[in-house]
C-alpha cells in the first residue's frame, strides 16, 4: 500500500437479505457488491461508471461508512468519520426543507460539535461565498432555489466539515447542460484549492473523461476495468467497457444508429451467474469464460477478462 492513498478497499462484498421463510431466515441474498478492490489516491478524482443496478450507489454507501460491508475491509487513512462527505444526485430531496440555508450548510459541523450560532453562521457565509452563492441567501429555505443553486448548497454542506474525501453521486445528472458546466467548474476549482479527493459516480462518460484522473468501470458488483481515465476511455480493453463507450451518443457520429443490440438486460444479482458475469452479453465469449475472472494488469489498466488479457483463467472461490 502506498502512502498517498486515502482509502483502500479490499475484497468488499455486500449482500442484502430478502424474503423470510417461516423461521425468519432470509430466502436469499441480493449480491450488490462482489469483491471490490480499489485504492483511492489522495487529491485525485476516481470516476466510477456503470449502469443502474451495477452497485455504484452501494459502493458509495460503503465508502461513506453508512453501510458495513458483509465481507472485506475498508482502510481509512484519515482522522474521523466526518472526513468523508457526500453530494447526492437529487438536490430537491437531499436538502432539509425546514432548515434555512445556513443551517443546512453547517449541519455536518453541528452534528459533531454544538457550536455557537454566530460561529456557524460565519462558517456558512464563508462557504456560501466559496461556492458562488450571495450572502443574502443564508436565511432563505431550499425550495426558493433552482436546481443548480441547490446543488451549490449541497456542495457547501459537504465542504463544511473540512473533509478529505467527497463522494459525488451523480451530482450533475439532474441539471441542465449549461448549469452542469458551472457545477463541474466549481468542483474543479475547489479540488485545486483544497486538495480534495473526489469519488465521482456517474453514468455520463463525457463528464468522467473531463473530470476524472482514474476510472473504474463496474458491472454487476464487480470492477471490470480500472485505470487512468484517458487510457481506459481511449482504448477500452474489457468488452463491457467497449459496449458502454460505443453506446454513448455523440455529436460527431455520422454513421447513424447502427444495428439494434440483442440483449441489454443485466443478469439477476440474486443468483449470480456462474463464470464470467458478462458472459451472456459478450460477443467474445468463448472457452475460459466458464470460470470467474480475475483482475489482470495490462499495460495501462487492470482488466477482468480472460479473452482480451490472454491470462489463464483461474478458479476463484465464489
Amino acid at each position: 500500500m502506498t502512502t498517498d492513498s486515502v482509502m483502500t478497499l479490499s475484497n468488499i462484498h455486500m449482500r442484502f437479505p430478502f424474503g423470510e421463510d417461516w423461521r425468519g431466515r432470509p430466502r436469499g441474498f441480493v449480491h450488490a457488491l462482489n469483491g471490490i478492490d480499489l485504492e483511492i489516491l489522495r487529491g485525485k478524482t476516481l470516476g466510477v461508471v456503470g449502469e443502474s443496478g451495477c452497485g455504484k450507489s452501494t459502493l458509495a454507501q460503503v465508502l461513506m461508512g453508512i453501510r458495513k460491508p458483509s465481507e472485506g475491509e475498508v482502510i481509512r487513512n484519515f482522522g474521523a468519520d466526518h472526513d468523508v462527505q457526500i453530494v447526492f444526485q437529487d438536490p430537491q430531496s437531499s436538502l432539509n426543507a425546514r432548515m434555512p440555508v445556513w443551517r443546512v450548510i453547517t449541519e455536518p459541523v453541528f452534528a459533531v460539535s454544538k457550536r455557537p450560532k454566530a460561529e456557524l453562521r460565519a462558517l456558512a457565509a464563508d462557504l456560501a461565498a466559496k461556492v458562488g452563492l450571495r450572502p443574502e441567501v443564508l436565511d432563505r429555505y431550499p425550495h426558493e432555489f433552482s436546481g443548480g443553486q441547490r446543488q451549490r448548497i449541497a456542495i457547501a454542506r459537504a465542504l463544511s466539515s473540512d473533509p478529505d474525501v467527497i463522494v459525488l453521486d451523480e451530482p450533475t445528472s439532474a441539471l441542465d447542460i449549461s448549469i452542469q458546466a458551472q457545477i463541474l467548474n466549481l468542483l474543479k476549482d475547489l479540488q485545486a484549492e483544497r486538495g480534495l479527493t473526489y469519488i465521482f459516480i456517474s453514468h455520463d462518460i463525457s463528464v468522467v473523461r473531463y473530470l476524472c484522473d482514474e476510472v473504474a468501470v463496474m458491472y454487476l458488483g464487480q470492477v471490470v476495468e480500472h485505470g487512468a481515465s484517458d487510457a481506459v476511455l481511449a482504448g477500452p480493453k474489457h468488452p463491457y467497457t467497449r459496449l458502454l463507450l460505443d453506446s454513448i451518443p455523440t455529436m460527431r457520429a455520422t454513421g447513424g444508429l447502427g444495428e439494434a443490440l440483442r440483449n441489454t438486460d443485466l443478469p439477476s444479482n440474486r443468483n449470480l451467474p456462474t463464470g464470467c458475469f458478462f458472459k451472456d452479453r459478450c460477443e467474445q465469449a468463448g472457452a475460459g469464460c466458464d470460470v470467474r475472472q480475475n483482475m489482470v494488469p495490462t499495460e495501462q489498466a487492470q482488466v477482468r477478462c480472460c479473452q482480451t488479457t490472454a491470462a489463464t483463467p483461474q478458479k476463484v472461490s465464489a
Binding site: 458551472q182 476549482d189 455529436m251
Partner: protein, 325 residues
C-alpha cells in the same frame, strides 16, 4: 410538398398563477412533414413538452390558456375538434411515448390487457387477431418471449423492456405522427441505444413522422433529420440537425454545444453559460437570451424574429439579421 402532419403557428400558452401568469410558450412556429423525424431540444423550462402537450390537447383544461396561435394535425384545426374526435385521433393516427415507462403503464393490468385495449379501440382487430397483432408488435421490438410477456404485469419488467412495450403500443395502429417526450432519459446508455435504434427503424419502416423531444444534444444529433432549438418558450434556431449543431448560428445553441464536456480539454475550465433562465412570469421584452449572451447589444432590447441564415436554416438573433441584411 404534401401537407404537414403537424403545424403550429404563433402558439402562445400561459398558465394562470397567483404571482402572475407564467408565459410558458411565447410564439412558437413549428411544422412536421410526413415521414420526417423532427427534434425539439432545449433545457428544462424551455417549453418543449408544453408545446407538444398543447398540440395533442393533453394539458388539463382550466390549468392553461392558449392566448394565441393555431395548431393543425393532419390538416385539421385542433381548436374545432371535439374531445371525442381528439380521443379518436390520439392513440390512432397520433401516438405519444412518455419519459417514464414506470408511470405510463397501468400497474394493475397485464401488458396484454393494456395492449389489446389500444388495438381494439382503434382498429377492427378483435380477439385472437388483436392478440396476434400485439405479439407481432412486441417481436418487432426485439422482445423474445412475447406470448409470455403479455401475461406479465409492468412491475415485473425492466425499464428498457417497458419502454420498448410502449413503443410497440404506440405503433399499434400505424400512427402518422408519433410524439416522443424524452423517451430514453430514464434509461441506461446501452438500453438507450437499443430503444433509439428500434424506434428509428420502426418509424422509417412505417413512414411515421416523429416529434422527438430531448434535452440531450448528442441523442438529437444522431436521431433527427431536422431540429428546433428552444429557449424560454421560443424557437431560437431551426434547421437540419447536422447544420444547426455543426454550425450553430444562435449564440445560445453555440454556448450549449461549448458547455458539453464531450470535447473539452480535461485541464481547461468548461465554457459554462452564466446566469439562469429568465423568470417567465415577466418574460423579457427583447431577446430572451440577452441577459446571458456575450454578444448582447442595444438591438437585443427588441425581439428578434427567425431569419434565414442558410438553406432551411433559421436563427432568431440580431447578429444574424445584420449579416443577412
Amino acid at each position: 410538398m404534401a401537407d404537414p402532419v403537424l403545424k403550429i403557428d404563433g402558439l402562445e400558452v400561459l398558465f394562470p398563477g397567483f404571482a402572475g401568469d407564467v408565459h410558458a410558450v411565447n410564439g412558437v412556429d413549428l411544422d412536421v412533414q410526413p415521414g420526417e423525424i423532427v427534434g425539439l431540444v432545449g433545457e428544462s423550462g424551455s417549453a418543449k413538452s408544453v408545446t407538444a402537450m398543447t398540440a395533442l390537447g393533453l394539458l388539463p383544461t382550466g390549468a392553461f390558456r392558449q392566448s394565441a396561435g393555431t395548431i393543425s394535425i393532419l390538416g385539421r384545426d385542433v381548436a374545432t375538434m371535439s374531445e371525442r374526435e381528439m380521443n379518436k385521433l390520439r392513440g390512432g393516427d397520433v401516438a405519444m411515448i412518455f419519459q417514464e415507462p414506470q408511470t405510463a403503464l397501468n400497474p394493475t393490468k397485464t401488458i396484454g390487457k393494456q395492449m389489446l385495449r389500444v388495438i381494439e379501440l382503434h382498429s377492427d382487430l378483435r380477439g385472437m387477431a388483436a392478440r396476434d397483432r400485439a405479439i407481432e408488435l412486441l417481436k418487432d421490438m426485439r422482445i423474445n418471449d412475447a406470448e409470455e410477456i403479455l401475461g406479465r404485469y409492468p412491475f415485473e419488467l425492466s425499464g428498457g423492456m417497458r419502454q420498448r412495450i410502449l413503443i410497440g403500443m404506440a405503433f399499434a395502429c400505424s400512427p402518422k405522427l408519433l410524439v416522443a417526450d424524452e423517451p430514453t432519459t430514464a434509461l441506461d446508455v446501452t438500453v438507450q441505444r437499443q430503444v433509439l435504434q428500434l424506434l428509428h427503424a420502426k418509424a422509417r419502416q412505417t413512414g411515421a413522422s416523429v416529434l422527438f423531444i430531448s434535452h440531450d444534444l448528442a441523442v438529437i444529433s444522431q436521431f433527427c433529420d431536422r431540429i428546433y432549438v428552444m429557449y424560454a418558450g421560443r424557437v431560437v434556431e431551426s434547421g437540419p440537425a447536422q447544420k444547426v449543431l455543426g454550425n450553430p448560428q444562435h449564440p445560445y445553441t453555440a454556448a450549449l454545444i461549448e458547455a458539453l464536456p464531450e470535447d473539452a480539454d480535461p485541464g481547461a475550465p468548461l465554457a459554462s453559460i452564466p446566469g439562469t433562465v429568465p423568470n417567465l412570469v415577466n418574460p423579457p421584452k427583447g431577446c430572451a437570451f440577452q441577459a446571458r449572451c456575450r454578444h448582447a447589444h442595444a438591438a437585443c432590447d427588441s425581439r428578434p424574429v427567425l431569419t434565414d441564415v442558410g438553406s432551411k436554416h433559421q436563427a432568431a438573433c440580431w447578429l444574424r439579421e445584420e449579416i443577412s441584411a
